[in-house]
Each structure stands twice: as structure tokens, then as C-alpha cells.
Symmetry: C2
Subunit: 263 residues, 2 copies
Amino acid sequence: MLLGIGLMPHGNPVLEPEDEETKKLAEVLEGIGRTFRDVDSYVLVSPHNARMSDHFGVVMAEHLVSWLGFEGKELPGEWETDRELAERIYKAEKETGMPAVDLNFASLRGEYSRWPLSWGELIPLQFLKKKPLVLITPTRGVSRETLVKFGEILGDVIESTDKRIALIVSADHGHAHDENGPYGLRKESETYDRLIMELINENRLEELLKVPEELVKNALVDSYWQMLIMLGAMRKAEFELKESAYACPTYFGMAGALWIRKV
Amino acid sequence: MLLGIGLMPHGNPVLEPEDEETKKLAEVLEGIGRTFRDVDSYVLVSPHNARMSDHFGVVMAEHLVSWLGFEGKELPGEWETDRELAERIYKAEKETGMPAVDLNFASLRGEYSRWPLSWGELIPLQFLKKKPLVLITPTRGVSRETLVKFGEILGDVIESTDKRIALIVSADHGHAHDENGPYGLRKESETYDRLIMELINENRLEELLKVPEELVKNALVDSYWQMLIMLGAMRKAEFELKESAYACPTYFGMAGALWIRKV
């Protein structure tokens, strides 16, 4: 059963927020952690783990090990995969014809069955109580409909289990908010980020499907594909937005949002 | 152009060989390194990197970083991907309908485009001069014909490039050679290993396709699938066996073999 969804950024600034907006964002992230402290497992969708052109990945490796921080920010730690749930998700996606692969490393079981984590997972995990998780990697080379469908099947599997699950979507938004940043300044980053926050705050997530392809591309985001998976999963029950926040202390936009299942 | 092939084990004992057979095997591995010291790049097929049920992987990540040793044997180091060759291989395999994914991690380019290495790659690499490489991961959930076909396409791509390439196949054989080992003692491990060495030494590699499925399964090997890829690649030119050796100092069988292109 899907108890709720946390949309979480993965930028270093949320770890040590300096300005008021980022502090507010970090509070939302802490709220996500508190809200989900009693779940059984997380399903975590991250854009900075395995990246495949046209296949989703479901990590089966038993041990998820910190490996790669951003700009020297190392966040050591080890998490465990909810292997039973991972297998159910992979099986269901495959049976429905989704282009998905199961990802293991070195050994299929045991101490050598490990998978590396990057800042894309590690930063959201800093705000979440340590639990088993299923790590899923999105892909950009499939249609929007396929992304949503993948999320719907994911939602079906989560709904069909007795476990209490939170879906965590790791995402940052426009990356061209600063003329001195690595991607310069682009109007589209601002446009995209404002639109995303409107869709979140006005309960219009279905309109994600209408966001122009050119805008997604030119805004230089790494949120859109995960959010379509999220949209699919959220179609399987009713959810209410509890909190949201946005901050852009450097060159990329970060959003936090917490949705709770309606009772 | 495929200059030659090295079949190399990935067991710790070859690093510090104690018995005569393992010393002889290590000498063959050193000979592989010497023979290929002037190639431009390696294509390395390893069974202990990413493991997917029914998809081959072609690693695109730019930096290949030591991550996981076996039984505490750490072998630090970093290698670079021959990205141009990796892209050609991936593209050709996909265009021919092979079930293959391109594997990247964290970022698509630059310093964060990294991929972890295990003992499956690191031990063969100890014997090879540092060069760019393309890391390929086999899969067990496809037909023998698909494995050979993947190798044939790989061979076509290698033959079509001006680069001088060596194909390195990381493989250990039966894992049930010791009644006190983790997999116990099974007659099939001995049978399989003896058969493999016959096929190698008697130039009968095409007969790999006739090895009974039950024997492969019961011998507990991690060599068969990579060797079928190797067989496919070797069909694209003529090769001559220069050296081979076998040793089984612990519970698993290790083989080394060097084939050179006939001039």
C-alpha cells in the first residue's frame, strides 16, 4: 500500500541550508522523513544512478553502498534492498512489456551483491530513517506514455502488497538559473520550475503530460521523467498535498513536496 | 581489427601463485599482457560486473573505478572507457536486435560518469598494460545463439575499426572442486573443466555449442556465456592458440589461453 510520496531534491545546499528559502525546503524534507518514519520500505526513483538510454532499471543487488558524492560531499552509509518487493516490481513491469532490466552486481546474492549510490540517492536518504528500499532508475529514451505506464504498474504492485510503502522521487529541476553557473542562464529553467510548482500546488499533476518537449529540453532538467513515473503511481489511489517548497540557492532549482494518501 | 584473444581467470590465487600449476597459469597471463602491450584498446567481457537476467550491458561511463575486491583483496586503480568504440558496439548490437543496454552512472559525461569495477575485471587487468577499454557484461537469460550472435556483431565492429583491439574474456570454470569449498564437490565441475581445456587445446571451440545444458548448470561455472560471446567474435577472423594453462588451487577451476590472429 502506497502511504505517500515525497518529491525530494538532491542538491548539496539542502544539507546545510544558508538562505531562508532553502531552510524552508529542508524543513519540508525533514517533514517527509518524519511522516514516513514508520513505513516498511521506500521505493526510490533516482536520475543519478544507472543511466540507460531506453531501459528502466530495478536494482536487485542486496547491499546499496555509498560511492559517489557531488563536489566532494561524501555521505557514507549502506542500505539494504527490499529484494522481495524489487522482484515483484521487476516481474510485473516485464510481464506488462515494459523495457526494464534487473540490476545486480558481482554476485546475485550475499555480501558481494552490491550496488553503488550517488548523491542522487544519498541526499534524499539523509532525511529518511534507514529502511529497506527498492532503487529504480528512470530512462529518457521512451515515450511519456511508457513512463506513466511504468509508474502505474509500480503503483499496482505497491498497492497489492501488505507492506507500507513510501515512494521517494529524487529530482532537481531547471539547471540554467545562473549566468555564472555551468549551464548559464536560460529563461526556460525559470519557466519550467514555476510551472512545476504550479502543477504541484494546484493539484494539476496530470498536466505534466502537456509540458512542451522543447521546454523540458531547454530548461535542462533532471526531474521530468521521474515525475511521469510518479504521476502513474499516484493514479492508483488518492493523495493530498501536505507541504511543498522551492529554492534555487545556486544554479539549479530544487523542489520538495509531500503527498499523503487520503483516508 | 581483432589482434587476439585472452581468456583470463579472476581468482585471487593467480596474483600470488603458490603451486606449480598456478605459477604456470600466471605465466600465461603475463604472456597475454606482453603480447597485447601495443594494442589500442581492450574489449573486456566480465561476469562479475553488472548482472542482468536477459540483457547484455555495454558500459559507457567514462571512468572505470576499482570498487570491490574478493575476500578482502583490494586492487585500487582507475581505467578509462574507449567511449567511441563502446558507442559503436552498443549501436551495432542494438541495430541487430540484440537485447543490450548502455550503462552509465550518475552523469552521462565528465568526472561523474563513473562505473565500478569488481575482481572480475580487476584481476585480469593486473596483467594488462593500462589502456582504454570497453567493458561488456554477458547475460545468462538468452539463448546460446543470441550469445554467439552478440559476439559475431562485436567481432564485426572490432574488425571494422582501424584500432588494434584485444578481446579479454574474464572467466572461471567449475566451482565445485573441493568438498570443503563453498559449493562442495561435484563431478560435473571436473568434467566441464576438462572438456573446456580439450576444446581450447584441440581447436574445437565450435563444440562449445554442444556442451549439455545440465553440465553447464551442475558444474557451477561462470565461464560458459562469455565463451560463447568469444566464439562469435572469433568467427570473424582466423586465430591460433599460442599458450594455455589450467590450475585449480582452491575450489574453482581457472584457465588461461592466448590466441593470436593468423597473419
